[in-house]
Symmetry: C2
Subunit: 181 residues, 2 copies
DNA sequence: ACACCATTGTGAAATTCTTCACAAAACTAA
DNA sequence: TTAGTTTTGTGAAGAATTTCACAATGGTGT
C-alpha cells in the first residue's frame, strides 16, 4: 500500500505519512509502497501494542461499568485485573470474573498484581488522592475521566477524557460556522 | 487575574494566553490583568456556551446510559430531548423523563423537536447510516463514540471519542519512556 | 500632579511543522 | 540487459505556531 493510499484513509497527505513513518525508520520499498503486514507489526511494536497490559478500574459507577463491559479493551490486550470502589454496597459485588474491592487494599493489590495502568472513573473530589496513591504504588500510566487536572510526576503519563469539552468543541464549531455565513 | 496565572493553571505560557485571547479581541487591562467575570462571559459567548443545545441520543446501551445519567451535561445546557434505539425490548422504555423511540421516527422527531446535536452511542455498523440520516434531517453537529471515521459533509462538525486510542496513547508513552531510560 | 509599577497587546524573531520536489531504489516488461 | 514506471526517503522551501521583548496603558501611591 502506497503512502498515497494510507494518506487517503487517514485524512492526511502522502508526504506527511512518509515523514511520520521515517521518524521511526525506513519501512517502505521504493516503487512498491509499504507491506501492510510488516507495517502493522512494526507500528504495534513502536506503540507498545504487541503485549498485554494489566489494568485496574477505580470507581465502579456508570462509566466504570460501561468500560468494564466493553469488549474492545479486552480484545486489544487491556486486561482488567482489579476493580475498586469506596461504596460499601458495591464492595464484594461480582463483576464478571472480578470482585469489587475496597480502596483500603489499593496499594497492596496494585503491587501484588503488578498493575501498570489505572482508569479513574470516580468523582472528581477523590481523583487526585487516588492518582497519587496509584503513582506511589508504582503505576505507569493513568486514564482519567474525572473533570480535574491531575497533579502527578511527569514520569507518569496521564490521558484525560473530558466529554463535556467534546460537546463544547462541537458547540464552538457550530457557532463559528454561523459567524462565517 | 494575569496571563501569567492563567497560563500556570492551563499548562501553557503567558505569551500564548495573550496571543490566543487577542485573536478574539482585547479583553485585558494593562497593568491589571483580566477580569475573571468578564473573561468567563466573553469566552462563553465565543464558544457558544451561553445558550442551551437540544441533543438526541442514538443507542440506548451501556455508554448511552452513562451519558444520559451524567448530570454535567444537563447542567452545562445540553438538554436530552430524544433517545433512539433499534432494540424492540428497549423501545418504549422510560429513561427519566424520556421514552426510548424507534429509529423509524428518527427524521420526523429530529425535525419536530429541532434537534441540533446527535450523540452516536451505537455499534459501528449502524453509525454511518444514522450519521447520514441525522445530517439529512438537519443536525448541526455529531459526537461519535463508534470506532469508525464517519463520512459526512464538512459543514457538519464531528467529534470522535475513541477510548481504545486513549489507552493506546498511554501505552505508547510508557513504552517510549522505557526507551529513553 | 507626577512618578512608579505591573501587565497587556503585538510586531519581530525563533522554532516547529508541513509541503514540495527529486535523486535513489526497486520492480516490470521487452 | 536495458528502458520505463512507480514510489520511497529526505533535504530544502514554505507555512504556521510559539516565544521574545518592549512600547503603550492603566492603575496606585505620594
Ligand atoms: N457518566 C458519564 O457519562 C461521565 C462522562 C464523563 C465523565 N464522567 C466522570 O467520570 C467519573 C465517574 O462518573 P460516573 O457517572 O460513573 O459516576 P458514578 O457516581 O456513577 O460512579 C462513581 C463511583 O465511584 C465510587 N467512588 C467514589 N469515591 C471513590 C474512591 N475514593 N475510590 C473508589 N471509588 C470511589 C462511587 O462509589 C461510585 O460507585 C466522574 O468523575 C464523572 O465526572 C462521567
Ligand atoms: N462501552 C464502552 O465503554 C465504549 C467505549 C468506547 C466506545 N464505545 C462504542 O460505543 C458504542 C456503543 O457501545 P455500548 O457499549 O454502549 O454498546 P451496547 O451494545 O451496550 O449498546 C448499543 C445500543 O445501540 C443499539 N442500536 C444498535 N443499532 C442501532 C440503530 N441502528 N439505531 C439505534 N440504536 C441502535 C443497540 O440496541 C444497543 O442498545 C459502540 O460503537 C462502541 O464501540 C463503547
Amino acid at each position: 500500500m502506497s503512502s498515497e493510499e494510507l494518506a487517503a484513509r487517514g485524512q492526511t497527505t502522502a508526504a506527511q505519512v512518509r515523514k511520520d513513518l521515517s521518524h521511526f525508520g525506513s519501512f517502505g520499498k521504493r516503487g512498491l509502497g509499504y507491506s501492510v503486514d510488516q507495517l502493522r507489526d512494526r507500528l504495534r511494536s513502536i506503540l507498545g501494542l504487541d503485549r498485554s497490559w494489566r489494568v485496574a478500574l477505580v470507581g465502579a459507577g456508570r462509566i466504570g461499568l460501561a468500560l468494564f463491559e466493553y469488549p474492545a479493551f479486552r480484545s486489544r490486550g487491556y486486561d482488567w485485573v482489579a476493580i475498586f470502589d469506596s461504596d460499601p454496597e458495591k464492595i464484594g459485588q461480582a463483576w464478571g470474573d472480578q470482585v469489587v474491592r475496597s480502596p483500603d487494599e489499593f496499594e497492596k493489590v496494585l503491587q501484588d498484581l503488578d498493575i501498570e495502568l489505572v482508569i479513574l472513573a470516580l468523582p472528581a473530589d477523590g481523583a487526585q488522592e487516588m492518582a497519587m496513591r496509584a503513582v506511589d504504588a508504582g503505576v505507569r500510566g493513568i486514564l482519567n475521566f474525572a473533570p480535574i487536572r491531575l497533579n502527578v510526576p511527569p514520569k507518569v503519563p496521564v490521558e484525560d477524557v473530558n466529554l463535556v469539552m467534546e460537546l463544547e468543541a462541537l458547540s464552538f464549531q457550530i457557532t463559528q460556522g454561523e459567524r462565517d455565513a
